[in-house]
């Protein structure tokens, strides 16, 4: 039933039947999904559906108990979080968690923590830095300020910028619009769109704001209480009434427990 857009391109990430537990809670139940190079794929679903858990399983913070995660054909289930970053997967954690006691500049520098050994890396880092400042000019203006003094939107930009500094092949975005005023959220989405279009970054976007996310994405998955219930092209999902049901529980009797 899935419709694959870019079959010729290489599959970058493949998740097969993973199960993840938070303490005693079975948070992800047999979830499988895949990402192709250059895509924006969005993962939508109501609060508590397990979206963040999926990202945390990917980035090694809450390792999955069973199943397999292949990144460019390499299994990464058993790697530590910092090793996964090295593989080329960067996560932008939810809630704009930047290092508040450090300056904007330092935050970005830490984003490129992996590249502090070789000189060649350092020049490359400088370039990436310029790129990030290009994306978010406001960060350049504030680069000497402590991150704690930034506004909500700026924090989100910094958080994304920091993840970009690691030069990821795959960017994981966890609810970048959460708690932001609509205008600001829109700005963030615009940048994400640019990233994909201009920098060809592969993006896995977790969102609650389904409409905005689906407008941006190529494909989407819908998660409900730890299970994938739908997948398809963004356009098809936008039309699907089921999505609304997953959020607000309308007409529940028909589709209860599949």
């Amino acid at each position: 039933m899935a419709i694959f857009i870019s079959r010729k391109l290489k599959t970058m990430l493949k998740i097969k039947n993973i199960n993840t537990y938070y303490g005693q809670v079975h948070a992800l139940k047999n979830v499988s999904l895949h990402l192709t190079e250059g895509e924006i794929v969005t993962l939508i679903g109501a609060n508590g559906a397990g979206k963040t858990t999926l990202l945390n399983s990917l980035s090694g913070i809450v390792p999955s108990r069973s199943g397999q995660i292949l990144f460019n054909d390499t299994p990464i289930n058993d790697l530590y979080a910092h090793q996964i970053v090295k593989m080329g997967i960067s996560q932008v954690p939810e809630g704009r968690q930047v290092f508040k006691p450090l300056s904007v500049e330092d935050n970005l520098e830490l984003g490129a923590y992996l590249y502090n050994r070789k000189r060649a890396d350092k020049t490359e880092t400088k370039k990436t830095g310029e790129m990030v400042y290009g994306l978010f000019p406001i960060l350049k203006e504030r680069r000497k300020q402590l991150a704690g003094t930034l506004s909500g939107g700026e924090l989100q930009m910094l958080s994304i910028g920091r993840a970009l500094m690691a030069r990821p092949k795959l960017l994981l975005l966890d609810e970048p619009s959460m708690g932001l005023a609509p205008m600001v959220a829109q700005e963030i989405f615009q940048v994400i769109g640019n990233l994909s279009r201009e920098k060809k970054t592969t993006i896995l976007l977790v969102e609650q704001n389904a409409r905005a996310a689906l407008k941006l994405a190529n494909r989407g998955y819908v998660l409900e209480t730890g299970r994938l219930i739908l997948e398809g092209t963004a356009a098809s999902l936008l039309e699907n009434k089921e999505v609304q049901r997953a959020y607000l529980g309308k007409d529940k009797k028909e589709i209860w427990e599949r």
Partner: protein, 250 residues
């Protein structure tokens, strides 16, 4: 029964709640919903005295309880459960519920240490009452188990049993269905209805919309720290603003 007037909470420079007013009628089940980061848990923490609001007032039966600490609130019949289940892990199930009866007993250190006759009688009362509550929630057969060894779903039930033992007039539940499977959720829905039938007002923050739509009589929607709307489940499901808040206005 419970009334909030103009609650505002500012953390550092961040406004988590802005001028939220709402009221809960006696004997109802009220749901508070909203997207992540809407300020639901913050609101709960303010009502239950764990946070102090920047401005605004909280009333319980016309009485201003704005700055009451949680232990005093428990004494006047307001109790809550936690999103992450805060059990007393080192104690047995029964003992957990017995702690819930703290406000219903009065023996001091002296009479406890010397096992005064009154204390022995009271202890017997506490034990019986606690067992009654465990029967109410269907956990009586687990009473001897150490709480940290309970499966998650049972832990939730224990937390609710313990809160009921306080004999509250109003109980606030923070995501009681989180982490439960569908059968457990159905059981929970039934339990919540029974709690209401016994005359206790219920307020819950919940993400499981099935549950909320199913059992709540009235729903309050928060978004970005503000109250978006309130109404019956049907009204909420059809409200465009709510749909936009959840699905985005694109």
């Amino acid at each position: 029964m419970l009334r909030l007037e103009g609650i505002t909470k500012i953390f550092g420079g961040l406004t988590a709640l802005k001028d939220v007013s709402l009221s809960v009628t006696t004997g109802s089940i009220t749901g508070i919903i909203g997207p992540n980061g809407a300020g639901k848990t913050t609101l709960f923490n303010i009502i239950t005295g764990l946070y102090t609001q920047t401005s605004g007032d909280v009333y319980l039966n016309q009485k201003n309880i704005s700055f009451f600490p949680p232990e005093v609130l428990a004494g006047i019949g307001l109790v809550r459960t936690f999103q992450n289940v805060e059990l007393f892990g080192q104690m047995t199930v029964l003992e957990n519920v017995m702690v819930g009866l703290h406000t219903k007993s009065h023996s001091g250190i002296f009479s406890c240490a010397f096992k005064m006759p009154g204390q022995i009688k009271e202890e017997r009362y506490i034990r019986e009452k606690a067992l009654q509550w465990l029967e109410f929630t269907g956990m009586a057969d687990l009473s001897g188990i150490q709480a940290e060894n309970l499966p998650f779903g049972k832990g939730r039930l224990l937390e609710i049993s313990r809160a009921l033992a306080v004999e509250p007039r109003i109980i606030l539940m923070d995501e009681p269905a989180a982490g439960l499977n569908s059968r457990e959720t159905a059981g929970l829905a039934h339990l919540i209805s029974r709690i209401r039938e016994s005359g206790i007002t219920v307020v819950l923050v919940e993400h499981d919309m099935e549950l909320v739509m199913d059992i709540c009589e009235s729903i309050i929607v928060l978004n970005l720290g503000k109250k978006l709307t309130e109404g019956t489940p049907r009204e909420i499901q059809e409200n465009e603003a709510v749909i936009a808040a959840y699905l985005g206005d694109g």
